[in-house]
């Protein structure tokens, strides 16, 4: 309807006044944007500064950029811990993300495209469970993983948590919009349930699967609490736990800030790359629950 009438209307003269001064609005937005980005610049610049320069020039560009901090972090005994921790983060994050997307896709598909006994009850319970905080599970899970010898391992970081209710919900919402005719046509052609799901529904749902994957990757890569509790040896520790521990143990009581900044830069780069490449998937995933409320 509006598609027909909108072009005929003159270019919104009144709505231009709907919040106040043009200059004030743009100044507000520019200021917010600058404040949002500034800590990134501090991190970027600080990672290339010496300890001395960080004290005298904490906020500006480095006058004599040096890669000494990175060399310090990634060589010697510190280096072997850091490399190992980075590798562990990859070993954990990639399969966790793949598994989460698969489980969410399968369950979301069933909730969107099948009617079955208990569907609404199960779905409702899953959604309600989002109100249960992680605090509640940690003691029992810790006991459970002690008993089955999962503490301090890769599997304790890869298997639990893959049933992401939010991810499942996102897939379900998207798949409800897929045309039934296409799935039905495949069924008439003799395709089985799995084949219809794998060959037809999944490719059509690629955008939401991408969003779930990106969101899961970012959250898992950034996770601190879970590995802090469940993993104790450097052999399995991800970088998020290894980096803050390193800063305190390597230099005793004095925290070397330039190393912290260099390390923070390293652990942020993968996230920034993902964000720059998939920013819409990430931000839309963030807002997934917002519109439906």
């Amino acid at each position: 309807m509006s598609a027909v009438t909108a072009p005929a209307r003159p270019a919104r003269p009144v709505s231009q006044r709907w919040i106040g001064g043009r200059g004030a609005v743009n100044a507000l937005l520019l200021g917010a944007g600058a404040l949002a980005v500034y800590p990134y610049l501090v991190m970027l610049a600080g990672g290339f500064k010496t300890a001395g320069e960080l004290t005298t020039n904490p906020g500006g560009a480095p006058s004599h950029p040096t890669v000494g901090n990175f060399r310090h972090l990634f060589s010697g005994s510190t280096g072997s811990t850091m490399w190992r921790a980075l590798l562990n983060s990859v070993i954990v994050t990639v399969p966790f993300t793949a598994l989460t997307v698969l489980l969410c896709a399968m369950a979301g598909y069933a909730f969107a495209k099948y009617t079955f006994h208990g569907r609404n009850l199960i779905f409702g319970l899953l959604i309600a469970s989002m109100l249960v905080p992680v605090e509640v599970n940690i003691p029992t899970l810790y006991i459970m993983f002690t008993k089955i010898n999962w503490l301090d391992s890769y599997q304790v970081q890869i298997i639990p948590g893959t049933a992401s209710v939010l991810g499942m919900f996102m897939v379900r919402q998207y798949m409800r919009g897929l045309p039934d005719e296409v799935l039905e046509a495949a069924r008439v052609d003799g395709a089985g349930h799995w084949r219809i799901f794998w060959r037809i529904a999944l490719p059509m749902a690629a955008p939401v699967l991408g969003a779930v994957a990106v969101l899961t990757f970012v959250l898992k890569w950034s996770d601190y609490l879970w590995p802090l509790i469940m993993v104790s040896s450097p052999k399995y520790q991800p970088i998020m736990v290894a980096l803050p521990a390193l800063s305190t143990s390597a230099s005793g009581f004095i925290v070397s800030y330039e190393l912290l900044l260099a390390g923070s830069l390293i652990i942020t780069v993968p996230l920034l790359v993902v964000f720059l490449r998939f920013q819409n998937a990430l931000m839309n995933g963030t807002a997934a629950g917002a519109v439906r409320g």
């Binding site: 509640v136 599970n137 029992t140 923070s264």
Partner: protein
């Protein structure tokens, strides 16, 4: 049209006319498969959910009434864990701290994000598409990295003190510890709510605002009578998510104002409730740790209910 095609397909599956007997058994097998298929699709998700979420939650209710250290036999002690917590000064301080981390950033976070979202959508903003990723980007930095970076920024010779000409010991002065955490929380969280509100604002039709403006409704009237009512579900969603996230806060305070070494580094005056869970788990007091978790659950439930009520009622 769709209906006819489905009906036709039901009545004439391929092969039925040619080989009726074989087809009937195949059809029965297929009907069983049709019934089972959805359950098989949700099974992996449900197994993972039950094993690592639902069952541990249920067991932890039970555990919260026991004294259990992991190796000797568990002993039923009724409500003693809960009583011990409520009487513990450390727990009460942690509860106050967590309330502080929830309520103090609430207005800057949600109000600021709302204001910025409205500003971006206001059509007088230059380059509106630039601001969405720009304001969201702090959310991309991991909590660990952001806490470490802010730790450097808030240090004595750090950016904040030198730019503002202050001499505040953000990281050691007990009066300022929590305020430093609040700065970090607002910086990192604002973009999230901003994006949520931007999405919510798409449910406010521009035509409606224009029509109201033509009828003489001023900016405030349009905000009060059009934008806010239509945004109510989004605001409620943001409030509930903020409550849940705040009560689970852990990484930021511990890495920002924590001392050297320990896992839950924040001093008692700045430690969140989550530290009570982690400390009791690592200290082998699993019943007590579970009780903390369930108290937090009750808190989240009560706060969410209040928020739902408030928003329901004002809708009438």
């Amino acid at each position: 049209m769709t209906v006819t095609r489905t009906v036709l397909a039901e009545h004439h599956p391929p092969g039925q006319l040619a080989q009726p007997v074989k087809a009937r058994s195949r059809r029965r097998r297929r009907r069983l498969g049709d019934t089972l298929a959805p359950y098989l699709f949700i099974a992996p998700f449900l197994v993972s959910f039950l094993l690592f979420f639902a069952l541990p939650s249920v067991f932890s209710i039970v555990l919260s009434f026991f004294r259990y250290n992991g190796y000797t036999a568990a002993r039923w002690i009724g409500l003693q864990n809960y009583r011990a917590l409520i009487e513990s000064p450390d727990f009460r301080q942690a509860l106050l701290n967590t309330l502080f981390y929830w309520l103090v950033p609430l207005i800057p976070l949600l109000g600021g994000a709302f204001l910025l979202a409205v500003a971006v959508r206001s059509k007088i903003a230059k380059w509106p598409s630039v601001y969405k990723p720009l304001i969201f980007v702090p959310q991309v930095m991991a909590p660990v990295a952001s806490a470490l970076v802010w730790r450097v920024m808030l240090s004595n010779d750090g950016v904040l003190n030198s730019v503002l000409g202050l001499h505040v010991n953000w990281l050691t002065d007990p009066h300022f510890l929590k305020w430093g955490v609040v700065l970090l929380l607002v910086w990192r969280g604002l973009g999230w709510y901003f994006v949520v509100f931007l999405a919510g604002l798409t449910s406010v039709p521009a035509e409606l605002l224009d029509a109201a403006a033509v009828d003489g409704a001023h900016a405030w009237a349009r905000m009060r009578y059009i934008i806010l009512p239509l945004m109510r579900p989004t605001i409620l969603f943001a409030l509930v998510i903020d409550t849940i996230a705040s009560l689970q806060l852990f990484t930021e305070p511990n890495l920002l104002v924590g001392g050297a070494g320990s896992t839950t580094g924040a001093p008692p005056s700045a430690a969140p409730v989550m530290n009570q869970v982690v400390d009791n788990v690592t200290g082998g007091q699993f019943g007590l740790a579970s009780a903390v978790g369930w108290l937090m659950f009750v808190a989240i439930g009560v706060f969410s209910l209040i928020q739902f009520r408030l928003f329901r009622e004002s809708r009438r």
